[in-house]
């Protein structure tokens, strides 16, 4: 039971990590920018979902799309305030990273004023929490739902980026903005759309995370910010499958270092692997070798 259970634990945790990392990876793949405010958008998504359920008596399943919409719009706003002006000015990417930090501080502090600091949760009974019977391991319905949703979102995103016109435009922008705009792609529109999608993914992740762990504060994003970074680097930056693979690899590494008695050094294992991967396979686990980004 022990090993089976640890495998289940790892798969479940991997689902959580990938879900968070998807939006993070999307922005990085299209813009080549690390958006450190992503975790703040994630938190806002969770709270929008919570307000829908507690104040407007929405069902949880209805609250998720609303939260996605809300967080998507926050993403667009974030782009308009913190990224677009810098892009217009051809500012170095590092300036965009710093402005995303400023935006994150702002978003978290506004949330603190509105929602307070005490941990909040979805009402008891919003979702079934009883362990499913008759399996050789223990898992709850919400865990299965999160796994399914993250796989579905990943597939949807992948389909969008590869198969649709908008996705092609996004990839063109990612490859070379100038060429893309010469080809008639509305580059700033693509950026806006990317931020909307990333925000919506963060919103979905926020609500599901809130449901899974039942504790939401304006600071909940801090817990996943660094982990999300680790995940997208391990999987291959700017790569959507990479985010998912990275999520499962980080989770597996964490769970099995604990399972083998190394809970003290869990994060050291993860970061050492990260270090080695960067040195020997900087394109990440699934990335192809590509030109180094300038």
């Amino acid at each position: 039971m022990n090993i089976t259970q640890q495998v289940v634990n790892a798969i479940w945790l991997g689902g959580v990590y990938s879900l968070f990392a998807l939006g993070y990876a999307l922005v990085f793949s299209i813009l080549g920018v690390l958006n450190l405010a992503h975790s703040a958008v994630f938190m806002w998504g969770a709270f929008i979902g919570l307000v829908m359920v507690t104040q407007f008596s929405f069902s949880v399943w209805l609250a998720i799309p609303v939260a996605m919409l809300g967080a998507g719009l926050i993403g667009v706003l974030l782009d308009a305030v913190a990224f677009a002006p810098l892009r217009r000015r051809n500012a170095p990417r590092i300036a965009q990273l710093i402005s995303s930090i400023g935006a994150a501080i702002l978003l978290v502090n506004i949330a603190q004023l509105i929602f307070g600091t005490q941990p909040q949760r979805f009402p008891l009974g919003s979702i079934p929490t009883d362990t499913i019977e008759g399996l050789p391991f223990r898992i709850t319905p919400i865990q299965i739902i999160i796994l399914l949703v993250s796989v579905a979102l990943m597939a949807l995103l992948q389909y969008m980026v590869i198969r649709t016109r908008a996705g092609q435009a996004m990839r063109a922008v990612a490859f070379n903005q100038r060429v893309a705009s010469l080809l008639g792609v509305n580059v700033s529109g693509i950026f806006r759309m990317t931020f909307f999608l990333a925000g919506a993914l963060a919103g979905a992740a926020g609500v599901l995370y809130g449901l899974a762990y039942n504790s939401m504060t304006p600071f909940m994003g801090d817990q996943v910010a660094l982990k999300g970074l680790t995940v997208i680097v391990l999987g291959g930056m700017g790569n959507i499958q990479g985010a998912v693979v990275g999520g499962f690899v980080v989770a597996a590494l964490e769970v099995f270092s604990i399972a083998n008695g190394g809970s003290n050094y869990r994060d050291a294992f993860v970061f050492t692997l990260l270090f080695l991967i960067l040195l020997f396979r900087p394109q990440g686990l699934v990335g192809q070798k590509e030109h180094t980004r300038a």
Partner: protein, 307 residues
């Protein structure tokens, strides 16, 4: 002086400003050479722990602790820098964040680890509780003197061959190599200098705050150090200095805003970086903004590309 105190800048805040200016400079060195390294918080902790162990466990004076911390960080920077500095950009940033986290976890578990190897009970870094009761022996003049010497070195550096090599490596690495500049040597030397400066700031600060723990030198600290340099501006070495001053003083000056302090603080950061992407000390950026305010069209940006 009276005015500064009235807006919340007491002597201790001024001391923190000076420390953060040193940290900003340590970041500046790597950015000026085109390396996006976030290892400075890690080196700061190595310096702080070495320095404090020297002054507390071995009863050495502060200057011995200071030099000890700088030397240990400088030596450790070599095996870290050699492999890592082959990476560029965000990859380098992440690898160095990883380095910082590993350092943090090792310091956290140092006593248990050392204890299990030597078989005796070790009490050196004292785990999560950290080291407390460190005497406050760093004086303002220590910091000023250190900063003056560092500033002097910066000026000399920029005028030297090595300084021009640093700029060349940033602008175009292959071209620099073709010109006969030893790129690996330049990058590693700068990485070591940066580590040494960060370590010095760590030692000096530990003897101001009286207590250190591994959590003080995590991801947040690494990002703050980056912000000192980038917000200050990396086109001259004065920028990170100003960045360190302003970012440290701002939260104290804004105390009267009470619960809106974070919002005001975040907005100011955002406005500065959005309107002055080259940082606060960046003549080109200011003249651009001036031109825009007067409604003139401006040409290409002149801001230094650091990433």
């Amino acid at each position: 002086m009276e005015f500064l105190r009235s807006i919340g800048i007491t002597e201790i805040v001024m001391q923190f400003m000076l420390i953060n200016a040193i940290l900003g400079l340590s970041m500046y060195l790597v950015l000026y050479t085109g390396m996006f390294s976030l290892a400075n918080a890690g080196f700061m902790s190595i310096g702080a722990y070495t320095g404090v162990i020297l002054t507390q466990n071995f009863n050495q004076p502060l200057w011995v602790g200071l030099i000890g911390g700088m030397v240990v960080a400088g030596v450790l920077a070599v095996p870290i820098g050699l492999p890592v500095l082959r990476l560029k950009d965000i990859y380098l940033a992440i690898a160095t964040i990883g380095f910082g986290e590993v350092v943090r976890i090792l310091i956290l578990n140092f006593d248990t680890l050392a204890g299990s190897i030597t078989g005796e009970s070790v009490r050196l870094t004292r785990g999560a509780l950290g080291i407390t009761g460190i005497p406050k022996i760093t004086e303002t003049w220590h910091l000023l003197a250190f900063l003056v010497v560092t500033g002097f070195i910066m000026i000399r550096l920029h005028r030297s061959r090595f300084g021009r090599a640093m700029a060349a490596v940033r602008q175009d690495e292959p071209a620099a190599a073709n010109m006969g500049i030893n790129v690996v040597y330049t990058k590693n030397m700068v990485f070591i200098m940066s580590a040494v400066l960060a370590a010095a700031a760590g030692v000096l600060k530990a003897h101001l705050t009286r207590t250190i723990s591994p959590g003080d030198y995590g991801f947040d600290q690494a990002v703050s150090i980056l912000a000192f340099a980038v917000l200050g501006g990396t086109s001259t070495w004065v920028g990170p200095l100003v960045g360190g001053f302003v970012l440290t003083a701002l939260p104290e000056i804004l105390r009267d805003f009470k619960q809106y302090r974070g919002i005001v603080n975040g907005s100011i950061l955002l406005l500065v970086i959005v309107y002055l992407p080259g940082g606060m000390v960046n003549p080109a950026g200011w003249s651009q903004m001036w031109a825009r305010l007067r409604g003139k069209k401006q040409g290409d940006t002149l801001t230094t590309e650091v990433s």
